[in-house]
Amino acid sequence: MSSLRLPASEDSLSALRQLALDAAKHAKLDQAILQRVELVLEEALMNIVRHAYPPDAPERLVALDCEAGEGTLRLNITDWGAPFDPVAPANHRQEATLEANLEADLEHRAPGGLGLFFIRSMAQASYARQGGANVLTLRFSTQAAAS
């Protein structure tokens, strides 16, 4: 298992991405899954960078743990910010709004919501609040293409 704990900022994205991609290659995931790993990771991390901590938080950290198996990869992303479950929509209305947005034309299309949509669609994602931390678990496998 490989791990990194870094400041929750844009500057940390590249190192965390490299850690996950190395683990994904170790797991021998194919190229299409590798690209989904990269996308889902960026969406989850950017969500934490932008929203997890208040601007005056003394310490803003994010941790990534990667565990590679044969054709499988598990990523755990942990932050110590405000409780937030990116997997379950807050309510059904919000989800309905997102679905309507996916079909909306240019004038009515709202810019948000796609990051969470990609997390839910391209990975097997689960969430737990553990102590004072948000832990998002993302699973990928070569056999079960998540589309």
Partner: protein
């Protein structure tokens, strides 16, 4: 991310290579805004060389498309592959904006 610009009749073709992510989305938006500021209204973005796109990239595309619409212009895309094509399809952007298989098809419009 790198840009190559070519004027093709009424269209400006912007070939983009590299990654369109949370770090580079601003560069893409600025590049397009500069083209619009210099009078271009019909942009064709060739994504053959784009390796990767995330929701931050899509947000910058949406911002540019919304900027062009009231000017009577448009923002079209061609040559999508891999994760870029997947992300366009899943997000509904492939229906929201004109997307063409090849640059020739994008330029063949009236």
């Amino acid at each position: 991310m790198e840009f190559t610009k070519n004027k093709e009749g009424v269209f400006l073709v912007l070939a983009v290579t590299g990654r369109l992510d949370a770090i580079t989305a601003r560069d893409f938006e600025e590049e397009c805004k500069a083209c619009i500021a210099s009078g271009e209204k019909r942009l064709v973005v060739d994504l053959a060389g784009l390796e990767y796109i995330s929701s931050a990239g899509l947000r910058s595309i949406l911002a540019v498309a919304k900027l062009l619409k009231p000017l009577g212009g448009d923002l079209a895309f061609c040559d999508l592959a891999g994760i870029v094509a997947e992300v366009f399809a899943m997000s509904g952007f492939a229906k929201l904006l004109p997307v063409f298989a090849t640059r020739q098809e994008a330029l063949a419009r009236a």
